[in-house]
């Protein structure tokens, strides 16, 4: 079973069209294995992206070096999944 230990979901806020283009470039980097939950299209809509642990550093450096604002929406995805599993087990009981 694939686990998501250390994977984070980032909420990225582009401030203009140029940053949207930079995010679209980021999206095209297949080796980072990013899972875009919302796609970069409009500065008004935040972009949520799930980032595998091994790509976190690269993605954050990319965002910071391009002065693109972001926050960590989910700190550790596996913890969310574990908590949900626990909740499901207790509600089944």
């Amino acid at each position: 079973e694939k686990t998501f230990i250390g994977e984070q979901v980032l909420r990225i806020k582009a401030s203009n069209g140029d940053q949207i283009v930079q995010l679209q470039d980021l999206q095209s980097l297949a080796h980072l294995q990013l899972d875009f939950w919302t796609n970069p299209s409009n500065p008004e809509i935040p972009v949520d992206v799930r980032v595998p642990f091994e790509s976190l550093q690269s993605v954050k450096i990319y965002l910071e070096s391009n002065k693109i604002d972001y926050s960590i929406m989910i700190e550790d995805l596996q913890e969310v999944i574990n908590a949900e599993k626990q909740e499901m087990i207790s509600s089944e009981r």
């Binding site: 919302t38 799930r50 989910i74 995805l77 969310v80 509600s91």
Partner: protein
């Protein structure tokens, strides 16, 4: 164990077999109006079951599907809850009764069963089909980029490893082809509603191009009325508009195809989910989501009922 169709626990995750048993339970409890129709099989051979609600012969149809991206449980749960609602309220609720006295409703609660099974066993965040093709190390196609509407255009990827890979050709995915064949075969579907999850949107065509559809004003009015009705229950705010204006240009989507083949009332819901739970919407939010969605859905269904074409 679920004792009957009214005792289903929507707050818990269920295996595909469990969901199919729940469909059978609804069918058994309401057999005079509910039946199950096999419309095809997934790539890995799982059945694609449509719940058919019908009270008479030769009626026009309304299609509802859910869970094309498999990983958001709230989507399938909402579809199943809606199925039970339609069955249980026929003969009791004036709206449901008049709807089903005029239209057949076809509801596909699990549009991507392979993806659904895969999220339960191997990768919780999977969203594609599970088709394999020679020459590629990556598996699956995004089933909502695989319809024959602007296929292969902007907002879809040609990279088989991408989560939005459009596939080798339109309808290459048997799950997509099964639904398209059903719609073509029926030939009298008047409404097509696709239920997805994440980001609270109610969309209508187009996504593969950024021009307004011919029925823009009407679809926009219906969509806004639906969003307002939905919001009345818990205050959940929806954005309404074309796919291109509300989210982004995305080609090969289902409602663009249905609109282009003549189904005027083609809509897609993106249900309540802020992303903060990673598609694991807390159990106590599942039923409220289904309930509020019903109010929006009802507005659209009412409009379809009252505006035959």
């Amino acid at each position: 164990k679920e004792r009957n169709s009214g005792a289903f626990n929507y707050g818990a995750y269920h295996t595909l077999d469990n969901l199919y048993r729940a469909i059978d339970a609804i069918m058994l409890d309401y057999k005079s109006i509910v039946s199950k129709q096999l419309i095809g099989h997934s790539y890995e051979g799982r059945p694609l079951y449509v719940i058919k609600f019908s009270t008479g012969a030769n009626r026009p149809g309304i299609w509802i599907d859910a869970g094309i991206h498999s990983r958001e449980w709230v989507t399938q749960a909402t579809a199943l809850w809606t199925a039970h609602k339609l069955a249980a309220e026929y003969g009791k609720d004036a709206f449901v009764t008049s709807l089903l006295n005029n239209y057949d409703v076809f509801l596909l609660p699990v549009t991507n069963p392979d993806g659904y099974a895969f999220t339960h066993t191997t990768n919780r965040m999977w969203r594609k089909t599970r088709s394999i093709r020679s020459g590629s190390r990556c598996v699956g196609v995004d089933p909502n980029r695989n319809w024959n509407a602007g296929f292969g255009g902007p907002g879809a990827s040609s990279d088989p490893c991408s989560d939005s890979y459009f596939g080798p050709k339109a309808e290459s995915e048997v799950e997509v082809k099964a639904v398209a064949d059903f719609i073509r075969g029926h030939s009298n579907i008047k409404g097509f509603i696709s239920i997805h999850s994440y980001s609270q949107l109610l969309m209508f065509p187009y996504g593969y191009k950024c021009t307004k559809p011919a029925d823009f004003e009407e679809l926009n009015d219906v969509g806004n009325a639906a969003a307002m009705a939905l919001r009345s229950l818990y205050g959940t705010q929806y954005k309404v508009g074309t796919i291109c204006s509300t989210i982004y240009q995305a080609s090969g989507g289902s409602i663009d195809w249905t609109y282009d083949v003549g189904i005027k009332y083609s809509f897609a819901f993106e249900l309540r989910d802020t992303g903060r739970y990673g598609f694991l919407l807390p159990a106590n939010q599942i039923l409220p989501t289904a309930q509020e969605t019903w109010l929006g859905l009802k507005k659209i269904l009412e409009h379809i009922r009252d505006n035959p074409y």
